[in-house]
Every structure is written in structure tokens, then in C-alpha cells.
């Protein structure tokens, strides 16, 4: 049912991870997993050899058009960070210092910039919840499971038994009326535990990383609840994933 997150390096290097959320999760994982990062590098180099073997003579007009066009196109200024790193939406000194201090800094940068709503807090400063998410995504035993939501959209859960947490993200969820919210649940033999609120963004797209306490849970569920959230689910799950 669930898959080893580390297995995604090959598909990622082949540009075969089409789901944006899944790709971001894996990129976040890469910042904390040296073996996947090394594997991706080697696989990319291999893929480039496959690509170069498809060499063909370009159409004759292309050279001239490209050479003419570059004379009109200004070059980018050198980036201070890696060009692939998504910039912070706002650069507050406190946050920047925090991010630099963190081993998985890139994760936090990526997470914050995609509009993450962390369940533990809604302040501007990343806190323990960010660290929790980073720790789960880069855990050696991180595994991933994806499922569809009956009312539309998908949820992806990355969980790590060693870190004792499950991180949930979603995409394509319907936006709810203001008096409602999505809520994550961790379901185990000894009951149901609230994992956190999954809040839709202003544009109706939901990009949320919620880190719930795993305990003995063997399922992750999603329900629609009153805006403040519930202690126990009050509606039927619209998504249920075995972990």
C-alpha cells in the first residue's frame, strides 16, 4: 500500500513524477537524504546520456533564429542561492537566520514558500512544527502513500515510524465554506487522534503540510469538520489511506 520514499529517486531523475505535491515532497526529502541526493545525481547523468543518444540534426533555420534572438534577450543576474531554490515570500531576518541554522533549510524555504499552513501554529516564524515536518520528510524510514478524496482531489501522506509523525499534503481539494474545514485523522486500534486542520488557500488551492502524531495509527483519514476543528471526526471520511 505505501511505498518507500527513497524509491522515488529514479522516477524523479527521469522527470516522471508529474504530481507537483509529490515532487515537492521528494525535493524536500532530498535536502535531508544524502543517499537519495547522490542517487539522483547519478541517475540524471545517466538520463542525459540517454538524451544525448537521441541526437538529430536540427532544422536549418533554428540556428539563425536562436542567434538572432539572444541578441535581444537580456541575461539573468547571477543568483546568490541555487537557481532552483524557491525564494521566500518575505525575507524576515528572524526567519532567514532560522532557515540557515536548520540542516534542512531548503525544506523550510520550499515549505514556507508554497504557502504551508502548519497545524501547530499560524505565526510567521517557523517553529517546532517546521522542524517536525523536515524531520519526517528526511527520515530514513520515510514512506509515502497517496489516495484520492471522494469529493475531489488527492492527499499524500509521508510518514515515519522512527519520527512518530505523518505529514499530509493535498491538492485539488474543493474549497469549503468558511464555517467548514478539512481535518486530518490518525486512526489506530486504540482510537482516533486529530492530526491537524487542512486549510484551503485563498486561491482555492490547498497546499498544506500537516504533521500529525503517528502513535499506533495504521490509517490516515480526512473529514470535513466545523471551522474550529473537532476532537473526534463528526462526518464520514472523504479519504482513508492505509499506512
Amino acid at each position: 500500500m505505501s511505498d518507500d520514499l527513497h524509491l522515488l529517486a529514479a522516477a524523479y531523475a527521469l522527470d516522471a513524477v508529474a504530481d507537483e505535491d509529490e515532487r515537492r515532497l521528494f525535493e524536500a526529502h532530498l535536502t535531508g537524504c544524502a543517499s537519495c541526493a547522490a542517487e539522483v545525481r547519478g541517475f540524471r547523468t545517466t538520463a542525459v546520456r540517454l538524451g544525448a543518444a537521441a541526437v538529430r540534426t536540427p532544422p536549418p533555420g533554428l540556428r539563425e533564429r536562436v542567434l538572432a534572438e539572444i541578441r535581444e534577450v537580456p541575461q539573468a543576474s547571477p543568483a546568490t542561492a541555487g537557481a532552483d531554490v524557491i525564494p521566500l515570500r518575505s525575507r524576515r531576518p528572524g526567519r532567514t537566520r532560522f532557515a540557515v541554522a536548520l540542516t534542512a533549510a531548503c525544506l523550510v524555504v520550499a515549505a514556507v514558500s508554497v504557502g504551508v499552513a502548519l497545524n501547530a501554529q499560524r505565526s510567521d516564524r517557523p517553529g517546532p512544527a517546521d522542524r517536525t515536518v523536515a524531520a519526517v520528510l528526511s527520515a530514513p524510514d520515510a514512506r509515502t502513500v497517496t489516495g484520492s478524496v471522494t469529493s475531489g482531489g488527492t492527499v499524500t501522506v509521508v510518514f515515519s515510524r522512527s519520527r512518530g509523525r505523518a505529514v499530509l499534503t493535498s491538492s485539488g481539494l474543493r474549497s469549503l465554506p468558511t464555517e467548514k474545514t478539512y481535518e486530518m485523522w490518525l486512526i489506530g486500534p486504540h482510537g482516533v487522534r486529530a492530526g491537524g486542520l487542512v486549510r484551503p488557500g485563498a486561491d482555492g488551492r490547498v497546499r498544506t503540510l500537516v504533521a500529525g502524531v503517528l502513535a499506533d495509527a495504521n490509517k490516515v483519514g480526512l473529514t470535513v469538520e466545523p471551522a474550529a476543528g473537532s476532537r473526534q471526526p463528526t462526518t464520514r471520511p472523504i479519504a482513508l489511506l492505509g499506512i
Binding site: 529514479a10 522527470d15 516522471a16 508529474a18 538520463a47 542525459v48 540517454l50 537521441a54 541526437v55 532544422p59
Partner: protein, 213 residues
């Protein structure tokens, strides 16, 4: 759709056998070319248009060939190749040499753009059309005029032949056809985890066969 990629793996075999004995260590030639390319890209980053011209001559065939392989339409391929080559010029100052070399940087960009293109085509429900085109596209004409490229081409083909048919199919459907691993799993009616494993095992084998460090 099962088995649709069975003969899709050939990166573009030339019509005949490679007439030149394979003398060099795999990858030696391409490594030399790569470092030369890195120097050129450094000059391009400083706004040197003459260096860009030389770089164009080095990489345009690979860029165009890969894109054509993925998008399967000469006019689209030319458009995407033009975008990519101009993007190389534009973002050359941001190129970080520590991240795998100029060729990898350029080809990764080319592949992503090509894949983005077919995925947006797909959204326009052009999938059937693409599948059809796969069958009718003539199998690779004038590959590599020069010996070095031809050798490399032959080497990659031989290494692909060392994969199991299932590994080869999943890698080529993803890389050369632009399908996501989820789509590949659907097409070959195989669990996601199995497809991921096939891709990984296949790439490890390829990586070793090609002598990638």
C-alpha cells in the same frame, strides 16, 4: 496499452551496424566534451555571443533530438528547442558548475521542457494522437554524422539492451515518451511500487553499463 513501449526503447538506431570498433572507454569522449562545454558556458555567462554560437553547435543536435524524441512533432520540437536554447543563454549566469556539468544542466532543462509540453498536450486530450504518432514516426534517420557521436549512440543502445524488457519499457516510456510513473503503471497494468523499482533497478544497471561515476 500494455506493451506499447516494447519497441519504443531504441534511442534512435542508425540504419546499419556501427562500422567503427568500440575502442574507447565508455564516456571518455563525452567527458572531454563536457569540460570544454563548461568553459564555453562560463564565457556565455559573461555575455559572450561567439561562445554561445560554438556552444550551440555542440549541443543543438542533442537538445533538438531529445525534444523531438519526446514531443514527436518536428514543428513543436523546433519551438521547444528554441525556447530551451534561449533559456540557456538567459540563465547561463546562474549555472552552478558544481551541479553535474554543463551538458547535464542543458539536457535536463531540455527534457523538462519537452515533458511539460507533452503533458500540456495531454491536457488537451492529445494522447491518442501522440500514441498514433509513435507508430508512424520513422525510426531515426540521419543520426550522428560524426564518429564520436555515433559511438556514444551505439554504446547507449547496447546498454539499453542489457536491461530486462520490463525495466527498459518503464524507463523509455518515462524518459523518451514523457509519461509519469503513475501513467506507466496504468499503461502496463503494474503496481506503482513495482514500476518505481523497475525504473530504479534499470537506471542502476544503465548507470553501471555507461560508466557513470
Amino acid at each position: 496499452m500494455t506493451g506499447v513501449g516494447a519497441k519504443a526503447y531504441d534511442p534512435g538506431s542508425a540504419s546499419g551496424e556501427c562500422p567503427v570498433p568500440l575502442l574507447r572507454r565508455p564516456g571518455a569522449a563525452s567527458r572531454e566534451r563536457t569540460s570544454e562545454l563548461d568553459r564555453l558556458l562560463g564565457r556565455v555567462a559573461a555575455g559572450d555571443t561567439a561562445a554561445f554560437e560554438r556552444m550551440y553547435d555542440e549541443v543543438a543536435g542533442a537538445v533538438y533530438g531529445l525534444i523531438l524524441r519526446v514531443v514527436r512533432d518536428a514543428a513543436h520540437a523546433e519551438e521547444v528547442a528554441q525556447e530551451v536554447l534561449i533559456e540557456v543563454w538567459r540563465s547561463a549566469p546562474r549555472y552552478d558548475p558544481s551541479r553535474g556539468g554543463a551538458m547535464a544542466w542543458i539536457m535536463t532543462m531540455a527534457h523538462r521542457r519537452a515533458v511539460d509540453r507533452v503533458r500540456s498536450e495531454q491536457a488537451a486530450s492529445d494522447r491518442a494522437d501522440r500514441a498514433g504518432r509513435r507508430e508512424i514516426t520513422p525510426a531515426h534517420d540521419e543520426v550522428a554524422e560524426n564518429v564520436e557521436k555515433r559511438l556514444e549512440h551505439e554504446r547507449v543502445r547496447r546498454c539499453l539492451d542489457t536491461l530486462t524488457p520490463l525495466q527498459r519499457e518503464s524507463i523509455t516510456l518515462a524518459y523518451y515518451e514523457g509519461y509519469s510513473y503513475r501513467e506507466v503503471a496504468d499503461m502496463v497494468a503494474t503496481p506503482l511500487g513495482t514500476v518505481k523499482t523497475r525504473m530504479r533497478d534499470g537506471l542502476i544497471r544503465l548507470r553501471n553499463c555507461l560508466g557513470v561515476a
